[in-house]
């Protein structure tokens, strides 16, 4: 259906805009630019539209994976029971056990987070999430993001106006507090004008991104320990530094488990050493389960710092 529209270089016509809200020339959907959930920035407010359970699973997993790839804490707000939510993530390829135990992945119902939706005002919303962000920073996370399932009984049919008021308030709150949110909508429950109205309250429409992140930064127990999985290079070395700084702010003795790091470039390892060189007395980074390739890079690059202990 879309192959003729997606290829070729002819000038797009008005008709192109009619396919599921897509403007294939600019990548916009419902008049909003695409937003990659794996590259969120603070204050960003995306809406994620899914047409079936498979899309929902893929989008939700991408949101959680994006949070783990940033080392951020993520709150998953869902109308259903938390075990159902976790099962959805597992089916999407997310291993939820460690992030849940490490306090990195929190699953809450709408009521637990917002109380009574109808009476919540902006001041309350800002206060709620300022507190949540403070708790995240205190727990050693560099940032906080929220994703919420917007369907279900909390939003009875016909309350589009209430929904728009809510989303507008959330946008203001995100900007003030400095966190990111992705609101998930079942597109089957919305007609196209409603979708356009809702999309207009967001900074972009979520795309799940094609590539898996190069590495995940997982909070592990006892907090604020850190497990790194994957590969470290120029693309995520700065993320590693951000996560380590946040963890160290929560505890002066940090254990970084590199057992699942198959490759680390000199630049990313230098980030660790440069942080260590600036640490106050009594503060220390322990590198645990260092793999042989990473150990050789550490050795040959000649990094030395008293505040880095390599556990053998």
């Amino acid at each position: 259906m879309t192959s003729a529209l997606a290829t070729g270089s002819r000038i797009p016509t008005r008709k192109d805009r009619l396919i599921n809200g897509d403007n294939r020339a600019s990548g916009e959907r419902f008049g909003r630019p695409p937003g990659d959930v794996s590259a969120l920035v603070s204050g960003q407010h995306l809406c994620a539209l899914y047409q079936n359970q498979d899309e929902r699973r893929r989008l939700t997993a991408a949101v959680i994976r994006g949070a783990l790839a940033a080392g951020d804490r993520v709150i998953y707000v869902t109308p259903g029971p938390s075990d159902v939510a976790l099962a959805l993530l597992e089916a999407g390829g997310i291993e939820t056990g460690r992030p849940v135990r490490g306090g990195q992945l929190l699953v809450h119902s709408f009521g637990e987070i917002y109380g009574d939706l109808a009476s919540t005002d902006l001041a309350q919303l800002v206060a709620t999430f300022q507190a949540a962000l403070s708790q995240s920073l205190a727990a050693g996370f560099p940032g906080l993001r929220i994703t919420g399932e917007m369907g279900g009984s909390s939003w009875p049919a016909g309350s589009l106006e209430g929904l728009v008021r809510w989303e507008r308030m959330v946008s203001q709150m995100l900007g003030e507090v400095g966190i990111a949110a992705i609101c998930q909508y079942d597109q089957r429950q919305l007609d196209e004008p409603a979708t356009t109205v809702i999309a207009a309250e967001h900074s972009g429409v979520a795309t799940s991104g094609q590539r898996l992140p190069l590495a995940l930064f997982i909070a592990s127990t006892p907090p604020p320990a850190l497990q790194v999985e994957g590969e470290l290079d120029l693309t995520n070395g700065p993320v590693l530094a951000r996560v380590i700084r946040a963890r160290l702010a929560a505890s002066p003795q940090l254990r970084v488990d590199l057992g699942a790091v198959a490759f680390a470039d000199v630049g990313s390892l230098r980030e660790i050493y440069q942080i260590a060189v600036g640490l106050p007395a009594g503060s220390r980074i322990t590198l645990a389960n260092v793999t042989e390739p990473v150990r050789r890079v550490l050795d040959l690059a000649g990094f030395r710092a008293d505040a880095v202990v390599i556990e053998s």
């Binding site: 190069l214 590969e231 290079d233 120029l234 693309t235 490759f263 470039d265 000199v266 630049g267 230098r270 440069q274 060189v277 042989e292 390739p293 050789r296 890079v297 050795d299 040959l300 690059a301 000649g302 990094f303 030395r304």
Partner: protein, 329 residues
Amino acid sequence: MSWPADDSMAHRALLYTDEPEFRTAVGAFIHEGLERREQILAAVPAGQLAWLRGELGGDVPAVEFADAASFYRRQGQATRATLDWLRRHASDGQRVRVVAEQASSRRTPAEAADYLRMEAAANVVYQPFPVSVLCPYDVSVLPGDLRPGVEQTHPELLRGDRVVPSPAFADPRIFIRNFSAVAPPPLTSASIGFGRREDLAAVRRFLRTQLARAGFGDEAAALLVAAAAEVVTNALMHGTAPRRLWVYTEGPMLVCHVRDDGPGFADPLAAYLAPDRHATHGHGLWLGRQACDCLEAATDGTGTHVRLLTRLPEPGAPEGLPTQSEALP
């Protein structure tokens, strides 16, 4: 013959023809050091090691012997091991001595050229230390085309018991610049272009495939991937497009060849100096230097080229890399 007693560095070449000449000159160097209570490191081939032990009547506590075959297995690691030794023994201003001779028989032309560049760099690398370095060369096996290079890279020469300035000695940076030529990659070799940070993962996959194809085991391949990835990262951060990596063989060596369109290194010594403890860059090339058998960096009208050359694994040889304990005396 007398060597400095102050805090200066001395770097002299001895071009000898036979065992008596070696024993007389190197023996005098070591005996003078022992009289002055200087620590001595002697990294020489096995035959010369035996001559020295004969000259000294066995092992002497102040003299550390290292077999050149393992000490110089990788040029960069020998520099690193020598630097570590100097830091241990010469950091309090205590004068020390080094005898350094490599067996030259197994060298490829690329290795010989890299060796001479390292000799030139040594004049700068060891400058901070109060060290007397004597480099004996057996002229009966020294390839004729290396001899001018020896005289260009050593400021002084030993002639019998006289010290003469080397008339051909060249500024190390100028020597390295003039002694680095671009070798274009073979037209048919495998290659991959890169231009963004996001391409690095694909570059590593390409390298792993090529290294496995060339017969490198996992451990050796991982180290080469790390070394080549650093050169690629440098090209990405400091070079300009278009950028490309080739992998090919050249005689007994595997070559990872990175090209970009930039002007190259501002300092010709960039690929030869150990970064200091707090340096924010320079570790990548230093790693490449030690992970490979030789490293070339050259710029011409076709761009900036960095080549990492590593001996291909010999069929049937057990996988293994020289460990730090092998490299260190």
